[in-house]
Symmetry: C2
DNA sequence: AATCCAGTGTACCAATCAGTACAATGGATT
DNA sequence: AATCCATTGTACTGATTGGTACACTGGATT
């Protein structure tokens, strides 16, 4: 009989999807087991501190992904190119509004207090990186920060609204609107 | 010894605050008891179907409140006046970013499926009402709808971001930005 | 072939979960 | 004064919660 053997890195993305769908409190160990196929033995082997450990790992994973795919390019690549790439990458990552931002979802309920530093850091670094790109493209420093904040905030709003209305067109419209706002 | 006697209408706002802070799954009956002071007897007396019943009542309550305080004025009052009032009312209601939108929070996790109609209806009516006011103020119908969507979406994003950064200034800045966008 | 050890499955625990049952309270109605 | 009934407190249930303990598997190392 075949035996599936995972390592920690394989488990984190599955956990991310579970937390995304069910939220932190909604994701019980039983449901995590159901959706990942991993038994308690494996789960506590990889994440000795249980659920909190899992969520922290997921947040760290999301963080490094965005750092590499979005934030670093914004800081290093030609600004116009990096910003264009950001819109594409983000739209794909959130599957056009069909996939929720876990960090944003955590921010809204009591889970925030538990992961306050990770949650704040994620958004702060996003705004910083985007602001940096805008400054490098010749924008005034103060205006750049305001515009970056508007974009990041707008993406989160678009996710909430498109998910609430269960309509990806809403998300698509918001993204083109925000991209245009950022160009002016 | 004094005995506190509530009626259903007194309980709903307390429940709203509990769900707001803890989320739907985070709000256990024990915690609801703690924070409201009501025993299980009272809670199941008012809400025979338990938590789901409570959340539905809270959503309905929020809905009627917004209908009266925000949506109806947008449809009936002089548009510029009504829109100005909307920004004031909303800022006060969300306590400058310190208070979360329960409907938005529900939209992000698995709770949405349970209350999909109420959640979608809330945002749809908000967009419709604001769009109506913009049309009445002379805006083109298509542009009005787009602008209304941007505003409602933007408010939700501002709530997520200001809560994530734990900074009300972020919310305040977003509100003035959105109000200006709506005027152009 | 013997050992090792990362990864697994299962049985188990106390605490908490949502929900039920029902007797007690006490203001209002008659 | 007797009755009524909305509201409340408490004791209880069975299911589920997060978490622990531990024996087992099987590929890799020696």
């Amino acid at each position: 009989m075949a035996r599936l053997v995972y390592e920690r890195a394989d488990v984190v993305p599955m956990l991310a999807e579970v937390f995304r769908e069910l939220g932190y409190d909604g994701a019980s160990m039983a449901r995590i087991h159901e959706r990942t196929g991993l038994g308690k033995g494996s789960l506590y082997h990889f994440f000795p501190d249980g659920k909190e450990d899992m969520a922290a790992a997921v947040l760290a994973d999301i963080d490094t992904w965005f750092d590499r795919q979005v934030f670093a390019p914004l800081r290093l690549d030609p600004p116009e190119k990096a910003i264009d790439a950001m819109w594409r990458t983000v739209t794909e990552y959130f599957q056009g509004g069909g996939r929720v931002c876990l960090v944003g979802a955590f921010a809204l309920d009591g889970t925030r207090d538990r992961f306050a530093i990770a949650v704040a850091g994620y958004f702060q670094r996003w705004i910083d990186a985007l602001s940096d790109a805008l400054v490098r493209s010749g924008r005034d420093s103060r205006l750049a920060r305001d515009a970056a904040e508007e974009a990041v905030s707008g993406i989160q709003g678009a996710l909430v609204l498109s998910r609430a209305l269960d309509d990806r067109e809403t998300f698509a419209r918001a993204m083109t609107r925000l991209a245009r706002r950022l160009r002016d």
